[in-house]
Protein backbone atom coordinates (compact mmCIF):
# COMPACT_ATOMS: atom_id res chain seq x y z
CA UNK A 1 0.00 0.00 0.00
CA UNK A 2 1.31 3.43 -0.91
CA UNK A 3 2.21 5.89 1.81
CA UNK A 4 -0.17 8.42 0.32
CA UNK A 5 -3.05 5.98 0.77
CA UNK A 6 -2.02 5.24 4.35
CA UNK A 7 -2.03 8.95 5.17
CA UNK A 8 -5.34 9.53 3.41
CA UNK A 9 -7.02 6.53 5.06
CA UNK A 10 -5.87 7.46 8.53
CA UNK A 11 -6.78 11.12 8.40
CA UNK A 12 -9.97 11.01 6.39
CA UNK A 13 -11.23 8.04 4.36
CA UNK A 14 -11.09 5.53 7.24
CA UNK A 15 -10.86 7.97 10.14
CA UNK A 16 -11.28 5.93 13.34
CA UNK A 17 -13.96 8.15 14.81
CA UNK A 18 -15.60 9.85 11.84
CA UNK A 19 -15.65 6.96 9.36
CA UNK A 20 -15.24 3.71 11.31
CA UNK A 21 -17.10 5.00 14.42
CA UNK A 22 -14.69 3.09 16.66
CA UNK A 23 -13.29 4.02 20.05
CA UNK A 24 -16.50 5.64 21.24
CA UNK A 25 -15.63 5.34 24.94
CA UNK A 26 -12.74 7.85 24.89
CA UNK A 27 -14.56 9.87 22.25
CA UNK A 28 -17.41 10.54 24.66
CA UNK A 29 -15.56 10.53 27.97
CA UNK A 30 -12.53 12.65 27.18
CA UNK A 31 -13.69 15.41 24.90
CA UNK A 32 -15.23 17.83 27.38
CA UNK A 33 -12.21 20.06 26.75
CA UNK A 34 -9.96 20.35 23.71
CA UNK A 35 -6.90 19.68 25.87
CA UNK A 36 -8.26 16.38 27.18
CA UNK A 37 -9.13 15.28 23.64
CA UNK A 38 -5.66 16.18 22.41
CA UNK A 39 -3.96 14.41 25.32
CA UNK A 40 -5.98 11.23 24.92
CA UNK A 41 -5.45 11.33 21.15
CA UNK A 42 -1.68 11.63 21.49
CA UNK A 43 -1.49 8.86 24.10
CA UNK A 44 -3.56 6.61 21.84
CA UNK A 45 -1.36 7.49 18.86
CA UNK A 46 1.77 6.49 20.77
CA UNK A 47 0.18 3.15 21.69
CA UNK A 48 -1.06 2.59 18.12
CA UNK A 49 2.35 3.16 16.51
CA UNK A 50 4.18 0.85 18.92
CA UNK A 51 1.49 -1.85 18.97
CA UNK A 52 1.18 -1.86 15.17
CA UNK A 53 4.94 -2.25 14.79
CA UNK A 54 5.11 -4.95 17.47
CA UNK A 55 2.23 -6.91 15.95
CA UNK A 56 3.72 -6.56 12.48
CA UNK A 57 7.13 -7.81 13.58
CA UNK A 58 5.71 -11.02 15.11
CA UNK A 59 3.20 -11.68 12.33
CA UNK A 60 5.32 -14.50 10.89
CA UNK A 61 5.38 -16.42 14.17
CA UNK A 62 1.86 -15.96 15.44
CA UNK A 63 -0.73 -18.37 14.11
CA UNK A 64 -4.30 -17.66 13.15
CA UNK A 65 -5.71 -19.58 16.13
CA UNK A 66 -3.98 -17.71 18.94
CA UNK A 67 -3.48 -14.32 17.31
CA UNK A 68 -6.16 -12.48 19.34
CA UNK A 69 -4.77 -13.33 22.82
CA UNK A 70 -1.24 -12.59 21.62
CA UNK A 71 -2.25 -9.21 20.16
CA UNK A 72 -4.19 -8.30 23.30
CA UNK A 73 -1.21 -9.24 25.50
CA UNK A 74 1.04 -7.03 23.38
CA UNK A 75 -1.41 -4.11 23.42
CA UNK A 76 -2.08 -4.41 27.16
CA UNK A 77 1.66 -4.44 27.87
CA UNK A 78 2.28 -1.34 25.78
CA UNK A 79 -0.61 0.51 27.41
CA UNK A 80 0.71 -0.39 30.86
CA UNK A 81 4.16 0.88 29.87
CA UNK A 82 2.65 4.20 28.72
CA UNK A 83 0.65 4.35 31.97
CA UNK A 84 3.75 3.79 34.13
CA UNK A 85 5.82 6.23 32.07
CA UNK A 86 3.24 9.00 32.30
CA UNK A 87 2.79 8.43 36.01
CA UNK A 88 6.53 8.65 36.59
CA UNK A 89 7.58 11.48 34.29
CA UNK A 90 4.47 13.49 33.40
CA UNK A 91 2.66 13.24 36.69
CA UNK A 92 0.46 16.33 36.27
CA UNK A 93 -0.88 15.07 32.96
CA UNK A 94 -1.33 11.64 34.50
CA UNK A 95 -3.62 13.14 37.12
CA UNK A 96 -5.87 14.37 34.30
CA UNK A 97 -5.77 11.35 31.99
CA UNK A 98 -4.69 8.61 34.39
CA UNK A 99 -8.09 7.06 34.82
CA UNK A 100 -8.53 6.66 31.08
CA UNK A 101 -5.10 5.47 29.99
CA UNK A 102 -5.85 1.89 31.02
CA UNK A 103 -9.00 2.04 28.90
CA UNK A 104 -6.88 2.39 25.74
CA UNK A 105 -6.55 -1.41 25.93
CA UNK A 106 -10.26 -1.68 25.33
CA UNK A 107 -10.23 0.82 22.46
CA UNK A 108 -11.24 -1.43 19.59
CA UNK A 109 -9.41 0.85 17.17
CA UNK A 110 -6.10 -0.57 18.41
CA UNK A 111 -6.97 -4.25 18.00
CA UNK A 112 -8.78 -3.24 14.82
CA UNK A 113 -5.60 -1.88 13.25
CA UNK A 114 -3.62 -4.92 14.42
CA UNK A 115 -6.15 -7.17 12.69
CA UNK A 116 -6.88 -5.09 9.62
CA UNK A 117 -3.42 -3.80 8.81
CA UNK A 118 -0.44 -4.69 10.99
CA UNK A 119 -0.73 -8.48 10.72
CA UNK A 120 -0.65 -8.25 6.91
CA UNK A 121 1.93 -5.51 6.31
CA UNK A 122 5.57 -4.69 7.01
CA UNK A 123 6.85 -3.05 10.17
CA UNK A 124 7.42 0.41 8.66
CA UNK A 125 4.11 0.52 6.82
CA UNK A 126 2.36 -0.61 10.02
CA UNK A 127 4.10 2.09 12.03
CA UNK A 128 2.97 4.68 9.48
CA UNK A 129 -0.56 3.31 9.56
CA UNK A 130 -0.57 3.55 13.37
CA UNK A 131 0.76 7.10 13.23
CA UNK A 132 -1.81 8.40 10.76
CA UNK A 133 -4.74 6.46 12.23
CA UNK A 134 -3.69 7.93 15.59
CA UNK A 135 -3.40 11.45 14.20
CA UNK A 136 -6.81 11.11 12.59
CA UNK A 137 -8.19 9.96 15.95
CA UNK A 138 -6.44 12.88 17.69
CA UNK A 139 -7.82 15.38 15.16
CA UNK A 140 -11.36 14.05 15.62
CA UNK A 141 -11.14 14.07 19.43
CA UNK A 142 -9.64 17.55 19.48
CA UNK A 143 -12.33 18.88 17.12
CA UNK A 144 -15.10 17.47 19.29
CA UNK A 145 -13.33 18.89 22.34
CA UNK A 146 -13.06 22.36 20.73
CA UNK A 147 -16.79 22.47 19.97
CA UNK A 148 -17.81 21.15 23.39
CA UNK A 149 -15.43 23.38 25.30
CA UNK A 150 -16.40 26.60 23.51
CA UNK A 151 -20.13 25.99 23.88
CA UNK A 152 -19.90 24.22 27.23
CA UNK A 153 -17.58 26.50 29.18
CA UNK A 154 -16.62 29.38 26.88
CA UNK A 155 -12.92 28.53 27.04
CA UNK A 156 -10.49 26.90 24.62
CA UNK A 157 -7.54 24.64 25.43
CA UNK A 158 -7.81 25.29 29.16
CA UNK A 159 -4.98 23.56 31.07
CA UNK A 160 -3.00 23.18 27.82
CA UNK A 161 0.20 24.11 29.69
CA UNK A 162 -0.32 21.02 31.85
CA UNK A 163 -0.28 18.83 28.76
CA UNK A 164 2.26 20.51 26.51
CA UNK A 165 4.43 22.42 28.98
CA UNK A 166 4.43 26.07 30.09
CA UNK A 167 5.40 27.30 26.59
CA UNK A 168 1.93 26.49 25.38
CA UNK A 169 0.11 28.53 28.02
CA UNK A 170 -0.77 31.03 25.25
CA UNK A 171 -3.21 28.45 23.85
CA UNK A 172 -5.40 28.81 26.92
CA UNK A 173 -7.99 31.36 25.94
CA UNK A 174 -11.37 32.48 27.15
CA UNK A 175 -13.30 32.65 23.91
CA UNK A 176 -16.52 34.05 25.28
CA UNK A 177 -15.82 36.38 28.24
CA UNK A 178 -18.56 36.47 30.84
CA UNK A 179 -20.26 33.39 29.39
CA UNK A 180 -21.35 30.97 32.07
CA UNK A 181 -21.31 27.88 29.90
CA UNK A 182 -23.90 25.35 28.86
CA UNK A 183 -23.75 22.40 31.18
CA UNK A 184 -25.26 19.90 28.77
CA UNK A 185 -22.34 20.20 26.35
CA UNK A 186 -19.87 19.11 29.04
CA UNK A 187 -22.02 16.19 30.13
CA UNK A 188 -22.29 13.03 27.98
CA UNK A 189 -25.19 14.24 25.77
CA UNK A 190 -22.91 17.01 24.49
CA UNK A 191 -20.51 14.36 23.23
CA UNK A 192 -23.21 12.59 21.24
CA UNK A 193 -24.58 15.86 19.85
CA UNK A 194 -21.17 17.06 18.73
CA UNK A 195 -20.19 13.72 17.24
CA UNK A 196 -23.45 13.62 15.29
CA UNK A 197 -22.82 17.14 14.05
CA UNK A 198 -19.28 16.33 12.89
CA UNK A 199 -20.46 13.12 11.19
CA UNK A 200 -23.04 15.16 9.32
CA UNK A 201 -20.40 17.71 8.27
CA UNK A 202 -18.10 14.95 7.04
CA UNK A 203 -20.92 13.30 5.11
CA UNK A 204 -21.81 16.60 3.51
CA UNK A 205 -18.24 17.18 2.36
CA UNK A 206 -18.12 13.66 0.92
CA UNK A 207 -21.41 14.16 -0.92
CA UNK A 208 -20.25 17.48 -2.36
CA UNK A 209 -17.08 15.84 -3.59
CA UNK A 210 -18.92 12.91 -5.17
CA UNK A 211 -21.34 15.31 -6.80
CA UNK A 212 -18.46 17.28 -8.28
CA UNK A 213 -16.74 14.15 -9.59
CA UNK A 214 -19.82 12.73 -11.17
CA UNK A 215 -21.86 15.86 -11.73
CA UNK A 216 -24.07 15.32 -14.77
CA UNK A 217 -21.91 12.58 -16.28
CA UNK A 218 -24.27 9.64 -16.60
CA UNK A 219 -21.58 7.26 -17.87
CA UNK A 220 -19.61 7.61 -14.63
CA UNK A 221 -22.59 7.39 -12.35
CA UNK A 222 -22.04 3.70 -11.68
CA UNK A 223 -18.94 4.19 -9.55
CA UNK A 224 -20.57 6.84 -7.46
CA UNK A 225 -22.99 4.38 -5.92
CA UNK A 226 -26.69 4.84 -5.51
Amino acid sequence: MKTKDIIRNGLWDQNVVLAQILGMCPTMALTSTATNGLGMGLATTAVLVVSNMAVSSVRGVVTEQVRIPVFIAIIATIVTLVDLGLNAWMHDLYKVLGLYIALIVANCAILGRAEAFACKNGVLASGADGLFMGLGFTAALTSIGVVREIIGSGTLFSQASLLLGPHFAFLETRVLPGYGGTLMMILPPGGFLTLGLLLAVRRRIEMRRDARHCGGVVAQASHCGA
Binding site: T63, Q65, P69, T80, L84, K95
Partner: protein, 201 residues
Protein backbone atom coordinates in the same frame (compact mmCIF):
# COMPACT_ATOMS: atom_id res chain seq x y z
CA UNK B 1 7.18 -33.40 10.34
CA UNK B 2 7.39 -30.19 8.38
CA UNK B 3 7.10 -26.69 9.78
CA UNK B 4 3.64 -25.97 8.39
CA UNK B 5 2.20 -29.05 10.10
CA UNK B 6 4.02 -28.20 13.31
CA UNK B 7 2.46 -24.73 13.34
CA UNK B 8 -1.00 -26.26 13.27
CA UNK B 9 -0.31 -28.49 16.28
CA UNK B 10 -1.74 -27.66 19.67
CA UNK B 11 1.68 -27.68 21.31
CA UNK B 12 2.95 -24.92 19.02
CA UNK B 13 0.02 -22.72 20.06
CA UNK B 14 0.61 -23.48 23.73
CA UNK B 15 4.32 -22.73 23.56
CA UNK B 16 3.63 -19.55 21.59
CA UNK B 17 1.17 -18.25 24.18
CA UNK B 18 3.51 -19.16 27.05
CA UNK B 19 6.38 -17.39 25.29
CA UNK B 20 4.43 -14.20 24.74
CA UNK B 21 3.08 -14.21 28.31
CA UNK B 22 6.61 -14.56 29.65
CA UNK B 23 7.98 -11.82 27.41
CA UNK B 24 5.25 -9.31 28.24
CA UNK B 25 5.43 -10.13 31.97
CA UNK B 26 9.20 -9.60 31.88
CA UNK B 27 8.76 -6.26 30.11
CA UNK B 28 6.33 -5.13 32.83
CA UNK B 29 8.63 -6.22 35.66
CA UNK B 30 11.52 -4.26 34.16
CA UNK B 31 9.39 -1.18 33.52
CA UNK B 32 7.91 -1.28 37.01
CA UNK B 33 11.35 -1.43 38.58
CA UNK B 34 12.45 1.42 36.37
CA UNK B 35 9.54 3.77 37.11
CA UNK B 36 8.71 2.92 40.75
CA UNK B 37 11.16 5.41 42.34
CA UNK B 38 9.99 8.28 40.08
CA UNK B 39 6.33 7.47 40.75
CA UNK B 40 6.97 7.34 44.50
CA UNK B 41 8.71 10.74 44.40
CA UNK B 42 5.95 12.29 42.30
CA UNK B 43 3.25 11.02 44.68
CA UNK B 44 5.12 12.32 47.73
CA UNK B 45 5.52 15.74 46.11
CA UNK B 46 1.83 15.70 45.32
CA UNK B 47 0.89 14.90 48.89
CA UNK B 48 3.29 17.48 50.27
CA UNK B 49 1.98 20.18 47.94
CA UNK B 50 -1.62 19.49 48.98
CA UNK B 51 -0.73 19.34 52.70
CA UNK B 52 0.97 22.70 52.35
CA UNK B 53 -2.14 24.20 50.73
CA UNK B 54 -4.34 23.75 53.78
CA UNK B 55 -1.92 25.50 56.15
CA UNK B 56 -1.05 29.20 56.02
CA UNK B 57 2.45 30.09 54.86
CA UNK B 58 4.93 29.96 57.75
CA UNK B 59 2.57 27.89 59.92
CA UNK B 60 5.07 25.10 60.40
CA UNK B 61 8.73 24.34 59.80
CA UNK B 62 8.73 20.54 60.10
CA UNK B 63 8.37 17.87 57.45
CA UNK B 64 4.67 17.04 57.31
CA UNK B 65 5.32 13.80 55.43
CA UNK B 66 7.33 12.21 58.23
CA UNK B 67 5.54 13.53 61.35
CA UNK B 68 2.57 11.20 61.13
CA UNK B 69 0.42 9.52 63.80
CA UNK B 70 -2.34 6.99 63.21
CA UNK B 71 -5.48 7.58 65.23
CA UNK B 72 -8.63 5.47 65.16
CA UNK B 73 -11.86 7.32 64.38
CA UNK B 74 -15.29 6.51 65.83
CA UNK B 75 -15.83 3.72 63.28
CA UNK B 76 -12.52 2.09 64.18
CA UNK B 77 -10.74 3.12 60.99
CA UNK B 78 -7.18 4.38 61.04
CA UNK B 79 -6.78 8.05 60.12
CA UNK B 80 -3.31 9.26 59.13
CA UNK B 81 -2.76 12.57 60.86
CA UNK B 82 0.12 14.77 59.69
CA UNK B 83 1.27 17.01 62.52
CA UNK B 84 2.53 20.54 61.98
CA UNK B 85 5.01 22.04 64.38
CA UNK B 86 7.18 25.11 64.47
CA UNK B 87 10.36 25.40 66.50
CA UNK B 88 9.45 22.14 68.26
CA UNK B 89 5.99 23.38 69.37
CA UNK B 90 3.00 21.56 67.95
CA UNK B 91 0.82 23.93 65.95
CA UNK B 92 -1.88 21.82 64.35
CA UNK B 93 -2.78 18.81 62.25
CA UNK B 94 -3.71 17.90 58.69
CA UNK B 95 -5.78 14.87 57.72
CA UNK B 96 -8.35 13.56 55.29
CA UNK B 97 -12.03 13.00 55.91
CA UNK B 98 -14.82 12.11 53.58
CA UNK B 99 -18.57 12.29 53.34
CA UNK B 100 -21.18 11.43 50.77
CA UNK B 101 -22.01 14.03 48.15
CA UNK B 102 -24.48 14.03 45.30
CA UNK B 103 -22.55 11.50 43.22
CA UNK B 104 -20.42 9.40 45.53
CA UNK B 105 -17.83 10.19 48.17
CA UNK B 106 -16.21 13.61 48.52
CA UNK B 107 -12.73 13.38 50.03
CA UNK B 108 -11.49 16.54 51.71
CA UNK B 109 -8.18 17.45 53.29
CA UNK B 110 -8.52 19.66 56.35
CA UNK B 111 -5.85 21.65 58.18
CA UNK B 112 -6.73 22.47 61.79
CA UNK B 113 -4.81 24.49 64.37
CA UNK B 114 -4.16 22.95 67.76
CA UNK B 115 -6.91 25.09 69.33
CA UNK B 116 -9.47 23.77 66.85
CA UNK B 117 -9.78 26.46 64.15
CA UNK B 118 -9.89 25.44 60.49
CA UNK B 119 -6.80 26.68 58.64
CA UNK B 120 -7.69 25.45 55.18
CA UNK B 121 -9.81 22.98 53.27
CA UNK B 122 -9.20 21.38 49.87
CA UNK B 123 -11.36 18.86 48.08
CA UNK B 124 -9.09 16.06 46.92
CA UNK B 125 -11.55 13.84 45.11
CA UNK B 126 -15.19 14.05 44.10
CA UNK B 127 -17.55 13.03 41.32
CA UNK B 128 -19.99 15.94 41.55
CA UNK B 129 -21.74 17.42 38.51
CA UNK B 130 -19.36 19.55 36.42
CA UNK B 131 -20.55 23.16 36.35
CA UNK B 132 -22.79 22.79 39.41
CA UNK B 133 -21.22 20.84 42.24
CA UNK B 134 -17.61 21.34 41.20
CA UNK B 135 -17.50 24.85 42.68
CA UNK B 136 -16.11 23.09 45.75
CA UNK B 137 -12.79 22.84 43.86
CA UNK B 138 -10.51 25.74 44.61
CA UNK B 139 -9.70 26.00 40.88
CA UNK B 140 -13.36 26.73 40.10
CA UNK B 141 -14.38 29.07 42.94
CA UNK B 142 -13.23 30.44 46.27
CA UNK B 143 -16.05 28.76 48.18
CA UNK B 144 -13.82 26.52 50.34
CA UNK B 145 -12.08 29.59 51.79
CA UNK B 146 -15.26 30.28 53.80
CA UNK B 147 -14.15 27.61 56.28
CA UNK B 148 -10.90 29.34 57.23
CA UNK B 149 -10.84 30.53 60.83
CA UNK B 150 -14.08 28.71 61.69
CA UNK B 151 -14.23 26.43 64.72
CA UNK B 152 -16.95 24.26 66.26
CA UNK B 153 -17.71 27.06 68.75
CA UNK B 154 -17.95 30.06 66.38
CA UNK B 155 -20.05 28.81 63.48
CA UNK B 156 -23.26 26.95 62.75
CA UNK B 157 -22.06 23.93 60.74
CA UNK B 158 -24.86 23.70 58.20
CA UNK B 159 -25.53 25.28 54.81
CA UNK B 160 -27.69 28.43 54.87
CA UNK B 161 -30.71 26.56 53.56
CA UNK B 162 -30.60 24.35 56.70
CA UNK B 163 -30.07 27.36 59.00
CA UNK B 164 -26.29 27.36 59.07
CA UNK B 165 -23.49 29.73 58.10
CA UNK B 166 -22.26 28.30 54.78
CA UNK B 167 -23.49 29.18 51.30
CA UNK B 168 -24.98 26.55 49.03
CA UNK B 169 -24.73 26.94 45.25
CA UNK B 170 -27.58 27.64 42.85
CA UNK B 171 -28.67 24.21 41.67
CA UNK B 172 -26.50 22.28 44.09
CA UNK B 173 -27.25 21.96 47.81
CA UNK B 174 -26.31 18.35 48.45
CA UNK B 175 -22.68 18.87 47.42
CA UNK B 176 -21.87 21.79 49.80
CA UNK B 177 -23.89 20.04 52.51
CA UNK B 178 -21.55 17.06 52.13
CA UNK B 179 -18.43 19.19 52.35
CA UNK B 180 -19.69 21.10 55.41
CA UNK B 181 -20.46 17.77 57.09
CA UNK B 182 -16.99 16.42 56.28
CA UNK B 183 -15.24 19.49 57.71
CA UNK B 184 -17.45 19.45 60.81
CA UNK B 185 -16.64 15.79 61.38
CA UNK B 186 -12.96 16.60 60.99
CA UNK B 187 -13.23 19.20 63.76
CA UNK B 188 -15.14 16.79 65.99
CA UNK B 189 -12.55 14.10 65.37
CA UNK B 190 -9.79 16.60 66.19
CA UNK B 191 -11.51 17.56 69.44
CA UNK B 192 -12.31 14.02 70.53
CA UNK B 193 -8.81 12.71 69.82
CA UNK B 194 -6.83 15.79 70.83
CA UNK B 195 -4.64 13.92 73.33
CA UNK B 196 -3.87 11.07 70.92
CA UNK B 197 -3.06 13.40 68.02
CA UNK B 198 -0.64 15.57 69.97
CA UNK B 199 0.92 12.78 72.05
CA UNK B 200 4.72 12.68 71.92
CA UNK B 201 6.25 10.01 69.70
Amino acid sequence: MNVAALREGISYQGVLLALFSTLTAAALVVANGFTAPAIHTAEEQDLEASLRQVLPAGFNDNNLLTDVVRVKDSTGQDVEVHRASKGGTQQGAVFKTSSVGYAGPIVVLVGISRDGAVQGVRVLRHAETPGLGDKIEVAKSGWVHAFEGKALSNARWLVKKDGGDFDQFAGATITPRGVVKAVKEALEFHQANHAAIYAAH
